[in-house]
Symmetry: C2
Subunit: 411 residues, 2 copies
Amino acid sequence: MAAEGIARSPGEGLPRGRGESAAAMVAPEPAEGSVGIVAPQHLMLPDGLTLACGARLAPVEITYETYGTLAPTRDNVILLCHALSGGSHAAGKHHPDDRKPGWWDLYVGPGKALDTEWFFVICVNVLASPYGTTSPLSINPATGEPYGLTFPPVAVSDWVELERAVLEQLGIERLYAVVGGSTGGMRAFEWAVRYPERVQKAIVIAAPARSSPMVIALNHIQRQTILMGLMQGGEQGAQRGLALARMLGHISYLSEDALWRKFGREAYPEPDFWGVTFQMESYLEYKASTFVKRFDPYCYLYITRAMDTYDLAATYGEGDLSRALSRVEAEMLFISFTSDWLFPPSGQQEAVQTLQALGKRAQHVIIDSPWGHDSFLVERVKPQLKPILKAFLEGTAADQTPLQTVESLAL
Amino acid sequence: MAAEGIARSPGEGLPRGRGESAAAMVAPEPAEGSVGIVAPQHLMLPDGLTLACGARLAPVEITYETYGTLAPTRDNVILLCHALSGGSHAAGKHHPDDRKPGWWDLYVGPGKALDTEWFFVICVNVLASPYGTTSPLSINPATGEPYGLTFPPVAVSDWVELERAVLEQLGIERLYAVVGGSTGGMRAFEWAVRYPERVQKAIVIAAPARSSPMVIALNHIQRQTILMGLMQGGEQGAQRGLALARMLGHISYLSEDALWRKFGREAYPEPDFWGVTFQMESYLEYKASTFVKRFDPYCYLYITRAMDTYDLAATYGEGDLSRALSRVEAEMLFISFTSDWLFPPSGQQEAVQTLQALGKRAQHVIIDSPWGHDSFLVERVKPQLKPILKAFLEGTAADQTPLQTVESLAL
């Protein structure tokens, strides 16, 4: 675990409660640093977990990473939740010569939005993901073979339970904050509803209270493409199916505006009429070809199904969203992006309005960004997103306005 | 040809030019009728056509339909252009017991927007479509086998030439109007640019001046899914590939709002975990299963590629849209729908602003509709769309405002 040496005591200057001084917010902006070289950590649950579907999965192995230092009072913990194709490697590098750092290195580190000089950040790889936690790729002890499609269905709430197991292991009862985008945002939201007394603040980025039929439709097509490949062409067929699924997933994370800016109608120099004739197509094929090397078709099937079944109203309110969200005690921040058509601002608006009608502390910030759903991963959005995250994490409730604000992104 | 008996002389009351009386517009709304029973017509071009790609395709057989009566002065002709999966059967029925009439029966008939008591409406099935015009399903006379993937690439301009061949056969030099939606709108627009002196009015519904990279991306994924099915599973595999392609095409014609209204998150009563567990998925599978019975995978490949290559700026302006559109002489009406994310209003706006900057007569009407790209086919949009079409077709240029107007659709 990196950055231990530089951690200050979290009690030092971090405002905690409503009405306290927000002096930390107006301090000079600290220089940003890296968490440096980090190593994944592992936890084995020999007795496994009972899943939402009723199945018992055992054993369960969990891979996670942490950044910063856990305060002796254990009250500086941020649980960071990764998205569909992410993993526990959120910041820093595993090896000095890694080409890229973790998936949210932009926002996790000394002086960054999730400032590891104050916070102890934990990121747990979810069940059914191929990055070190038990998944369809793992060996089923009953058969000695990989689970494949015999793996049990997983739900977003199972991922929350997995994260809770890691926190228990670390002796952490309560989260200062839970933060996530996309399916990670679903998880952050579910934490605030499932364990209200354990979450002080929650940041839900580009995720609603329940998946829309558009998400279900897009995921259905992606899964059926993988399954068609599998049935018609075996493992190799499933790989091409996964590539096509990823292409569809990928464009659902972008916007038409972003595609015009990046590719327009530019021709590909070596056209193949039924293959690639436009740069747009070349890009999709390239992105898909790198994705299939790092991901797995079975994992993709399970994770997208978990997205579909995500519905806080159904799970905690018998279909009534207001009833479900009445459980929330955390102070909540929702962040949407104007050009996100996969999880558009309207989905978050429903959640925020429901919370506000219940008298809960919920804010909604809509960032005017052309980069679609993936805006929270795009470096050019950082000037807008970082101060919003930082103010919410380091400020007090009194500093916040419950009204929706729109930040205009200069392009 | 139906409705001949009821046709009035087209000279009777139809305003033709700028500055004439618009009295016809304020006449009492006539009752709507059907064009009745119609029969497809055929034209054989033994010498075929030279296509935009340079290939000579011969022979070419063309299927088309007409509604209403051609005036002796031949100046009451509306060319109606069908979309991707449509055909020449736009109105009426082929047999009294047909379950459904033609694809635009809402708008074509006595008293309808394209009033067959005044207008002679022609709809021509395009090249590469499976509905009676030469396509990959046709026999290649050189081999005695169906063309399949040896069919030459087709372009939107080839479809215009095909339509021109039908008009020539009928002795029609000039169109009173050309009207189309989606790929039919591309064709209507291309007519106005390619043959400016032959088009008096053009209505382009939900189509831009060039396909966006989003359209190219969605079409690429659809084609690759068909090709994967074909390569891995032969003809049967291609059928499933076509089904999945259609599902993706279909949701690109709808909007998230429409999907919430129609399906929400309703469960399917007999769930199959890797198949259908939501009504949304059941609907997609149902729509796709009916589509594959009436369409063909090869035709789908060719028509989507024609959509991709559609670019008026490239074809008529060496990449300069203003130069291409400077050719236009027709009075033009563009109609967009707010929730259309496949061909969003922004694409039409580019075309309209370019035309207006050139001093051309171009209007843009954006209809506030939740039904997405397919709004022009949705009965609930008719109260908004019909009067707009009718006023443009029957009014004079002096009646029109060049400014963009927004009609709010009561839901």
